[in-house]
Symmetry: C2
Subunit: 224 residues, 2 copies
DNA sequence: TAATATTAATAGTATTACTATTATATTTGC
DNA sequence: GCAAATATAATAGTAATACTATTAATATTA
């Protein structure tokens, strides 16, 4: 598969200085993805990051006002990328059912190939979303941050797929619950499969998570 | 409703000194539940707790070796309490379907009454589970802690309800995924309903979350 | 009453998540 | 091609955190 040269635009509210605008900024994003994966978000610090990229803690602060802000940026980047893939995969697909099937697959499958963007490793970023993203919004500041639009992209993705659901079954009462349950659920299952397997029915190579959520959605929509 | 005098036993692995064994220990648990709710887990500290209970930071450390250990204790207490309610509510219910319906309701409804235990506020504890519990297991130490049995009770609850699922439909492939999706999903929906309502279809007083998950499970099991 | 255990008080440590200031590169505008 | 503007690095500093260690005071029990 060839590398796509596409561009993801992130709202300026999510950074102090645009990390895409300089080599240092790109290194900050790129290396922080690696380090958050290696160390976990708690043990990751701007000081360690500065050291790794041959730069300084204070330089990182010129791009992101806090560790939390960097995590929010990465999450938004991820959902922007998912939204792009969602649009791309459902464009020119005439059947809504097929579009929804595609969407569920994109939302629930583990990312295994890193090939779209030069300095962002999507495989690692997906792992961060799975293990760290809930820490971003389970915060006392959630309401004010939500108002500032920090989670806009994620909400738009949910809305987009919920629209397929409503198109298939316009009388279905809970399209948003269904889709947010699928997204968050799949992330939990992927995490559980590696760390708390008793909570799951994962089997290597059998695609159980995608199958489980696909069946769940279509069974739910075909009922009554 | 009268107060039940029942007793919940927590594995000694989850504390340094049993908090139930002294007034100070009970005050630590009781006040920490209040304070984690007020401040959020990040801003809650043993120093602040000591101050509030008229005791000292170092005294708290005799009961729990860390803030994290205290959270794990609270989570285990919560699931032990849920398990008790689960057993109680399904005892002498002859139909499996009715037992599963009861179970889903216990797992997905918000706790609104605090009446079983003297020094533990179950309403607040339920809120902590909803907003803070994912922080306990999204940690680099998850595997070693899981091995030490830290999440045994939660896993037992999932197993218990999965067994109802398998009894209703023995050929259903994903009973654990289904139940863990319901539990984690309901917590997310309760959180979203208060902070990110665009991700949900919550309506005050309409019991949508319980209805959504009940329908989801029974539709899934009745299919094919 | 003495021994023992529990709790409180004090002090201290390394680290964190920042802020502020200044010095040194690098880029750009003319 | 040089000055001005800007970006980055280095250094230092702060308040707070998550603990540990030690000692002193207070209960409990034998």
């Amino acid at each position: 598969m060839e590398k796509l040269q596409l561009h993801i635009t992130i709202s300026p509210d999510l950074y102090t200085k645009d990390p895409e605008s300089s080599v240092l900024g790109q290194k900050i994003v790129s290396k922080s993805i690696e380090m958050i994966n290696d160390l976990g978000f708690e043990d990751f610090t701007f000081k360690k990051l500065g050291l790794e990229i041959g730069s300084n803690e204070s330089s990182v602060y010129r791009y992101f006002e806090s560790k939390h802000a960097l995590l929010v940026y990465l999450i938004d980047w991820y959902w922007s990328w998912v939204e792009y893939r969602l649009v791309f995969a459902t464009l020119n697909v005439p059947s809504v059912e097929a579009r929804l099937t595609q969407a569920i697959s994109i939302l629930t499958a583990e990312v295994t190939e890193d090939n779209s963007f030069s300095y962002i490793n999507e495989v690692l970023l997906n792992k961060i979303i799975i293990t760290e993203s809930s820490k971003a919004y389970h915060t006392k500041a959630i309401d004010s941050e939500n108002q500032k639009g920090y989670y806009k992209t994620y909400k738009r993705v949910v809305q987009r797929v919920s629209d397929f659901v409503s198109e298939i079954n316009p009388s279905y009462e809970f399209p948003h619950m269904l889709i947010s349950t699928v997204i968050e659920g799949a992330h939990h299952q992927l995490y559980f499969s590696k760390h708390l397997p008793a909570l799951t029915d994962f089997e290597e190579g059998k695609n159980n998570i995608v199958r489980f959520y696909t069946d769940l959605v279509f069974n739910t929509l075909s009922h009554k």
